[in-house]
Amino acid sequence: MRKFVPKVITTNDLMEGDVIYLAEDGSWTRKFGEAQVFTAAEIADEALAKVEQQRDIHVGAYLADAKVEKDGRPRPVHFRERFRTLGPSNYFHGKQAEE
């Protein structure tokens, strides 16, 4: 069996459209590094099914691959997820401008 790649739950905020991540305490954070990391498929799926019920908070939640760095914080694996943590590359807009 293939090894399970750790996951975070991500979606877009309903009002702003901004990228958000599910944190450990069940709240939503704007930072990938603060997201809860799921290391087992079943638990990740269960958590996803649960947040999908929060219909007035966000749009289209899904699981994204993550790797846990030495500092203990998760980082995106795929470039698409990395772009989502930053914003567009042609202007200094989006998350990169809000740090």
């Binding site: 877009n12 702003e16 459209g17 007035d56 289209g60 772009f83 989502r84 042609n90």
Partner: protein, 555 residues
């Protein structure tokens, strides 16, 4: 220009009110996203990678100064101070907040604009030649027909849930600037042997994952029969287009699978039955619309100052050489304002630039502006005697890039900088190409060439019909770019041929440099353009340049 009738006005206002209510119900949770999504899409509101995106229709690419100023106001008040003009003659706002969208739509309605049917499986914004009503080579202004189709298709009850989206383009000139052969329906206004006006109808063109060049389904249709005939095509497609597979749902696949002849018979049969439902009303409508698009009061004046400036100012001469096109009145020019500054984002304009363009249109261009599918803005009616002044004002606003039709006049979709469907970025590729060839000072030497970039297989960036097409893909988690060669978006439409394996982002521009060096070395002379060389020589010298160490190519 066409002015909204009372009916248009009340319809658009009613839709704003309706959508305001839908947004409120989404925000309070009484509508789920699943329920809301088709409603927001019908009103042009997408969710993209970092934010919502609102796509506003600019019917047949025509707008006046008041509308352009309103687009600028919206950019400032509810977005980040700019708008992105697209290959479908729309404008997109990349950062609206959900709760603000009804107010934005209200502001659009104030200037007779909307975002209706800019998404979803319906008939989308009808596009047209951006030189309509001005081009020297034009047979007839395509906009009355385009407006007729806009009115007919807007909220048409039978065609709101088609198998897939449906795009129509119209040209009134033998020179196709509207890419009619890459649309679900392409309409070319022609004259028959007795000189009567009519239309040639093409169907089944399209890009995306299965690119096809449109085929002529009717070589001459009297203009008065346009609506029943187009309705017949839509009806046949609506009933028979595939709904089992999203990727096979466009009319091009139906044409391909059913065969043109068989489909043609079905369309003709449907047309015969429908024709009676449109007794004479068609021509009356078209005549009314023709008067709405009557030419502005041109005032031909001598233009010695224009000739003098061309003679003495190399910067003006260079710009005039690329950015002016022949107007049907000798004392006028069509001015194309490039939205492709070196290192800039193709198709973007700041609110300040939009306001300046509106001022220029009002003062020097009979209050008309156009958006081209090539993502530039056009002032279609500028007296040659005013062109030097217009140039100076554009220059002061960073809008006098002299590159229309050259290597940095690139079409690029938003790609993975914004689009949720993208598989790779497009904008940085365009930026890098324009910067590199500017550094090399090779742009003028290379001459006319079309580079078109898409960030996914859906081909919003028209890469299949670029002389050089670039398609961004995700190869094992890394951005990778495929090159196609020999595409053509004009009346000689052709789908480009894939050159070979893709390139990494860092290897792409060096590969293009090799490709264009090969062109410069092999061309018959400076007058032979890239595409002409490619057609004369075939792909071999170009592939060899792209893949110098691949011994299989020459074999």
């Amino acid at each position: 220009m066409y002015k909204y009738s009372e009916f248009d006005e009340s319809f658009v206002r009613a839709r704003v009110t309706e959508f305001r209510d839908q947004v409120a119900r989404r925000i309070d949770g009484s509508l789920t996203e699943e329920e809301f999504k088709p409603l927001r899409l019908k009103n042009g509101l997408y969710l993209q990678l970092h934010a919502y995106m609102l796509r506003v229709a600019i019917p047949y690419g025509t707008l006046n100064s008041r509308q352009m100023r309103q687009l600028a106001m919206i950019a400032d008040r509810w977005d980040k101070g700019y708008g992105h003009f697209t290959t479908r003659q729309n404008v997109q706002y990349n950062w609206p907040k959900l709760a603000d969208v009804p107010d934005i739509l209200e502001a659009l309605a104030d200037v007779s604009m909307h975002a209706i049917q800019t998404s979803g499986n319906c008939i989308r914004n009808v596009t047209a030649d951006h030189f309509a009503g001005a081009a020297a080579d034009e047979i007839e202004d395509p906009r009355p027909i385009a407006e007729l189709l806009r009115q007919w298709s807007t909220d048409h009850p039978e065609f709101q849930y088609l198998p897939r989206k449906f795009k129509i383009a119209v040209t009134g000139s033998p020179k196709d600037r509207a890419v009619t052969r890459a649309h679900d329906i392409g309409i070319r206004m022609v004259r028959n042997s007795s000189g009567e006006p009519g239309c040639e109808i093409l169907i089944g063109g399209g890009l995306g994952r299965t690119p096809m060049v449109g085929k002529v389904v009717r070589d001459f249709l009297p203009t008065g029969d346009l609506l029943p005939y187009i309705e017949a095509i839509l009806r046949v497609y609506n009933l028979q287009g595939r709904r089992d597979n999203k990727y096979k749902a466009r009319i091009k696949i139906l044409v391909h699978e059913t065969g043109l002849e068989e489909l043609k018979q079905q369309i003709e049969a449907e047309f015969a039955a429908r024709k009676a439902l449109f007794p004479g009303i068609n021509m009356k409508l078209i005549e009314n619309l023709e008067s709405a698009f009557a030419p502005p009061g041109h005032d031909p004046k001598p233009f010695h100052n224009f000739i003098d400036r061309t003679r003495h100012d190399p910067a003006f001469r260079a710009w005039a050489g690329t950015n002016l096109s022949e107007h049907r009145i000798a004392e006028y020019s069509i001015v194309t304002v490039s939205l492709k500054p070196v290192g800039g984002t193709p198709g973007d304009a700041t609110s300040k630039q939009m306001n300046l363009l509106a001022d220029l249109a009002e003062r020097y261009a009979h209050d008309e502006l156009r958006v081209s599918h090539e993502q530039n803005i056009i002032l279609p009616h500028v007296a040659k005697s005013d062109v030097p002044k217009v140039f100076d004002l554009l220059n002061g606003a960073g809008l006098a890039t002299a590159n229309v039709g050259l290597i940095s006049d690139i079409i690029a979709c938003p790609g993975m900088d914004y689009c949720a469907l993208a598989t790779a970025r497009s904008i940085p590729v365009a930026q890098e190409i324009s910067k590199r060839f500017d550094e090399l000072r090779l742009e003028r030497e290379i001459g006319p060439i079309k580079i078109k970039i898409s960030g996914c297989i859906n081909a919003c960036g028209h890469h299949h019909v670029g002389h050089i097409g670039i398609l961004g893909l995700d190869r094992k988690g890394v951005e990778n770019y495929q090159i196609t060669l020999g595409g053509d978006a004009t009346e000689n439409a052709a789908i480009g041929e894939r050159a070979g394996p893709g390139f990494s982002a860092s290897a792409l521009v060096p590969a293009l440099e090799r490709l264009l060096d090969a062109y410069l070395e092999n061309r018959a002379g400076p007058d032979e353009s890239f595409i002409e060389s490619y057609r004369r020589l075939g792909s071999l010298p170009f592939k060899t340049a792209l893949y110098p160490s691949d011994t299989r190519i020459a074999a």
